[in-house]
């Protein structure tokens, strides 16, 4: 197995509605990543692409449509896909393309143009539910999160105030992120007083819908130093998909994230994640999700993530900073692109290039994680400098 490094990253603005097509957004992110590595398209041996449901972009076989902007012209170009987990997964996908020894370099691109689904992208989510026995109920994406959040809060007796701290932290962190869509200085009270959408979920518990793209360049250990003197190594990868029968399991704990994390930790030789992971980007499409995922990632015990958050441990100047980028809650959530944005953020953090967003503590090892599907997908990468 070849060791694989990330040698550069690129991103676009995240925004509610972009004039650019998905292909143009992909180009901007991919081009930035290539430029930062001092590469041209000719140096790219293969392309790993991801975008989540075609129902947003409104193009069947959307991967084909996005191929030129992703740098896939006349190259081995492949779109992988695990729902919301795609943005981190596509990094894993790029990893195995290079680790296999088949390619030395891989351009990883993720993009989403949710706004093409009009008037509101939310409508696309009806189609993720079971075609026979769920969709006729007129399902709303918020339902499944509200059900999970309620279950999580009830089992661990967690107060909404504790959860809202995540939204406050991430939106604040996003103030320092030039790509951010909705950076904001808000209070716990603001979250609790915001519109109730699907109790217990309020409007400020949720990330927005977004257009945007992000990209990475991966290189094998043989060539990585050609493109950077500060490679960040992908030392652990893990992914896992739980049953589609989501109404047959207890939603209070993401066991699929635990499995994915265990796989990544084993590969990276990590036995005590709480001590050995120095900075993390857990997936935060909803504020409670960050907490839920920290527990699944075994960065704390079950039900303990709210306490760490209250103590400030997860702030940028804390011992285990989470979502220093501003996360999906602050930067935005162009689904696949947001996962890749998280990987890019850890890349910048480990290289100490995050500017105002740079976390205070010294970081050797970081982690990015995404979640997806009907409470099913965990995707995890462990990065080291």
């Amino acid at each position: 197995m070849k060791r694989v490094a990330i040698v550069s990253a690129g991103i676009t603005k995240f925004m509610r509605r972009a004039q650019e097509t998905g292909r143009e957004l992909s180009f901007h992110a991919a081009n930035m990543a290539l430029k930062n590595a001092g590469m041209t398209l000719a140096d790219v041996q293969c392309v790993a692409e991801s975008t989540a449901p075609d129902a947003f972009d409104g193009v069947h076989m959307n991967g084909e449509y996005l191929s030129d902007g992703s740098g896939g012209w006349r190259k081995p170009y492949l779109r992988s896909y695990v729902g919301g987990g795609s943005g981190v997964f596509v990094t894993i996908h790029g990893w195995y393309q290079v680790a296999s020894g088949m390619f030395d370099t891989c351009l990883v691109v993720a993009s989403e143009k949710m706004s093409s689904c009009h008037p509101h992208p939310q409508a696309a989510f009806l189609n993720i539910f079971d075609n026979f026995i769920e969709r006729p109920l007129g399902c709303n994406l918020l339902w499944i999160f509200a059900l999970e959040m309620n279950r999580y809060m009830t089992v661990h007796k967690i107060a909404h105030e504790q959860i809202a701290l995540v939204s406050v932290k991430n939106k604040k962190n996003a103030l320092d992120n030039p790509a951010a869509q909705i950076p904001e200085k808000i209070t716990v009270k603001d979250v609790l007083n915001s519109e109730v959408l699907a109790w217990p979920v309020h409007r400020l518990d949720i990330s927005p819908t977004s257009d945007g793209a992000a990209a990475l360049v991966l290189a094998s250990e043989d060539v990585a130093y050609k493109y950077t003197d500060k490679p960040v190594w992908i030392d652990g990868v893990g992914w896992c998909l739980d049953t589609a029968y989501w109404t047959n399991k207890d939603l209070y704990y993401p066991r699929y994230v635990e499995k994915a994390a265990a796989m990544a930790y084993k590969m990276a030789g990590i036995t005590n994640p709480r001590k050995e992971i120095h900075v993390a980007e857990p997936y935060d499409p909803f504020d409670y999700k960050e907490l839920h995922h920290m527990e699944g990632l075994m960065l704390c015990g079950k039900g303990e993530a709210p306490k760490l958050t209250e103590k400030g441990v997860t702030q940028r100047d804390g011992d285990l900073p989470t979502c220093p980028s501003g996360g999906l809650l602050g930067v935005g959530n162009p689904i696949a692109a947001s996962g890749t944005m998280k990987v890019a953020e850890i890349f910048w953090q480990l290289r100490e290039e995050a500017g105002e967003r740079q976390v205070t503590r010294k970081c050797q090892t970081g982690l990015a994680q995404a979640w997806g599907d009907l409470m099913q997908v965990g995707t995890v990468v462990v990065l080291r400098k």
Binding site: M32, F125, F132, I133, L137, N140, W143, R151, Y245
Partner: protein, 168 residues
């Protein structure tokens, strides 16, 4: 490399840029519909609903009774052929009070989606709605029962159950 706003591609638009003619656009809709084969397990489950029955299946190897039915066990991969009729009662595993429709439109009277775990099944249930209950009285763990449509209005659909109501 430090990220700056100037480095970032992307041209944000406002919704009214369309109406004001500032941006060109093309409107289209997916035309195809789907007519999905229900097959063995789902076909039988839907036929059961028409008769006012909740059907489950039992994996002999795992000794687990689950619903919605499937012809294979996801735990042990054995084929399944044992059918079990479940009661139409169960408990609320989790719920929400939802003021938003599937297409993001707002509603005054909230919907009460819930996971109902059926009595007689092993932590297995379905997604459905609660009814005949004040939202503030709904609790996790609450006992509920299916309220069926009249027999002649039933079509073999999940909507043959109108909702679940508290079992007093």
């Amino acid at each position: 490399m430090k990220l700056t706003r100037e480095m970032l591609g992307g041209t944000p638009l406002k919704e009214n840029d369309f109406d004001q003619g500032k941006v060109l656009f093309y409107d289209d809709a997916l035309r195809t519909a789907y007519n999905w084969d229900a097959g063995v397990a789902m076909g039988k489950f839907l036929a059961g609903l028409k008769q006012g029955k909740i059907l489950g299946v039992r994996c002999r190897k795992c000794r687990r009774v689950v619903t919605p039915p499937r012809m294979f066990c996801e735990e042990c991969f054995s084929p399944i052929e044992e059918w079990v009729e479940l009661k139409d009662t169960g408990v609320v595993d989790s719920f929400s009070i939802c003021y938003v429709r599937w297409d993001a439109g707002r509603i005054k009277k909230p919907e009460l989606p819930a996971i109902i775990l059926f009595d007689g099944a092993d932590h297995a249930g379905i997604l459905h709605l609660l009814g005949e209950v004040d939202p503030k009285d709904v609790k996790i763990g609450m006992k509920v029962q299916a309220v069926w449509k009249p027999e002649k209005e039933r079509t073999g659909s999940i909507l043959d159950i109108k909702y679940f109501r508290p079992l007093s």
